[in-house]
Symmetry: C2
Subunit: 256 residues, 2 copies
């Protein structure tokens, strides 16, 4: 057995991939990045059909599903040790390439295991845009960032998967801190607010935001302003890593 079935030639992958992977189960990853005040997501453009899809993959017969997701993230971004949040499993019986007119590459078996119905487990990750090297998989000609508001029509239910990932990310904002992987090490309050506004897709009141976010006790204000010089330049902040990690573990308990 080869160690990495993803490196098999397409024809063989389609013919015999199911001797490595669990049948009927896949993983799709919604990889979010934040750049130029925009929330972006990583997409693949397929070689043959020029369709767009989320980065995804399968689960080795003896592999943990979280590990399978970690491998996909690593292969597409070069990033390790990033938190992947499992958010939803998609099990519409129409998740079946045959029903969507998607054919295997020329020369591959049209009755391939990949043409069966798949239940897919969705994960999202928040990554630092500048640290990512978008890398296409064997079936894609490109891998690139796409602004959330400009995502094209994707295969199967991948647009719905992004929608659900965003919903999960928005709810997460209530319960857990967000920003550590998305912002540079030092950032201003307006930058942090802009990140929250982009994820929530709504404008927030500046004073309320500052009050609430400071009350979480996860920020440290530095004795340093953006760019130096002008007195009106905003102060820089950084996350208090210890308190941030604690909040990640325990939740923020905004609620009752």
């Amino acid at each position: 057995m080869t160690k990495d079935p993803y490196s098999l030639p397409a024809e063989e992958f389609y013919a015999r991939g199911d001797s490595y992977f669990l049948p009927h189960i896949s993983i799709d990853c919604v990889i979010f990045g934040f750049h130029d005040n925009q929330l972006k997501v990583l997409l693949l453009e397929w070689k043959d059909s020029l369709r767009w899809s989320l980065p995804g993959g399968f689960i080795l017969k003896d592999e943990d599903i979280d590990q399978a997701a970690t491998t996909i993230l690593l292969k597409r971004t070069g990033l390790e040790k990033i938190h992947l949040q499992q958010f939803h499993t998609f099990g519409d019986p129409n998740r079946d390439r045959k029903k969507h007119g998607i054919n295997p590459p020329k020369g591959s078996n049209p009755k391939s295991w990949i043409m069966d119905r798949f239940v897919t487990i969705g994960y999202w990750a928040l990554v630092e845009h500048s640290k990512v090297t978008p890398t296409p998989d064997a079936f894609s000609r490109s891998c690139s960032w796409c602004e959330i508001s400009e995502v094209p029509e994707l295969i199967l239910d991948h647009n719905l998967i992004i929608e659900k990932a965003l919903e999960s990310l928005r709810l997460q904002l209530n319960d857990y801190p967000v920003g550590f992987n998305l912002l540079p090490a030092k950032f201003t309050m307006p930058e942090l607010q802009s990140l929250y506004e982009t994820i929530l897709a709504e404008k927030l009141d500046r004073r309320n935001f500052q009050k609430k976010i400071l009350s979480l006790g996860i920020l440290t204000r530095l004795n340093e302003r953006k760019q130096g010089g002008a007195h009106k330049a905003p102060f820089l902040y950084k996350f208090d890593k210890k308190k941030y990690q604690k909040a990640l573990k325990q939740g923020l308990s905004f609620g009752i």
Copy 2:
């Protein structure tokens, strides 16, 4: 093909169930009820081995996973039209009955599809205790309520599944209203607080709780006190169904 493969004799179910169901994927349901100020969960006791497990089942080859979960809930409780919350998919490669010394019933094929590794999709539901008729499945001798704090050792990772369901339910309290299916139509503020305290496993301040819960605008105070008579008897409340449904859809936005 029979319409309901769950009604097959055990031997046949073990031998040929995989001609009806997706292989390697199962569903487990954590069904919560609230009774005598206690949070309870529905468990099955197996016929042969007297082990305990969560109610669960499989997914027909052309069935939506949510529908499969709905069928399990109906079969075990008699309840329909209850919201089932998918909360996590469990994919440890050790989720394999062989690795846990669990054997198929006598006379069944020890190499049955059921003895393979399974990835399981977890759902929880909140149901009105008094409306449930706990009903064992074909492999169980009993189906009964068990207090959360008294759950015995369950098969595979089912204890972990309950833990994760509780975690999800607790987070849900921050984002969505809870209580509609758990409490009787009319209830007192102390009863509602007690429900929240039981789910959160912590004592809450009476005045704070009342202030926060009323601020959600989902309750209507009735002009009626518990039991009539004494003036100190607490007022009865009911949920404003329309506002409750809206909050379920939009979230409570306690947060930023």
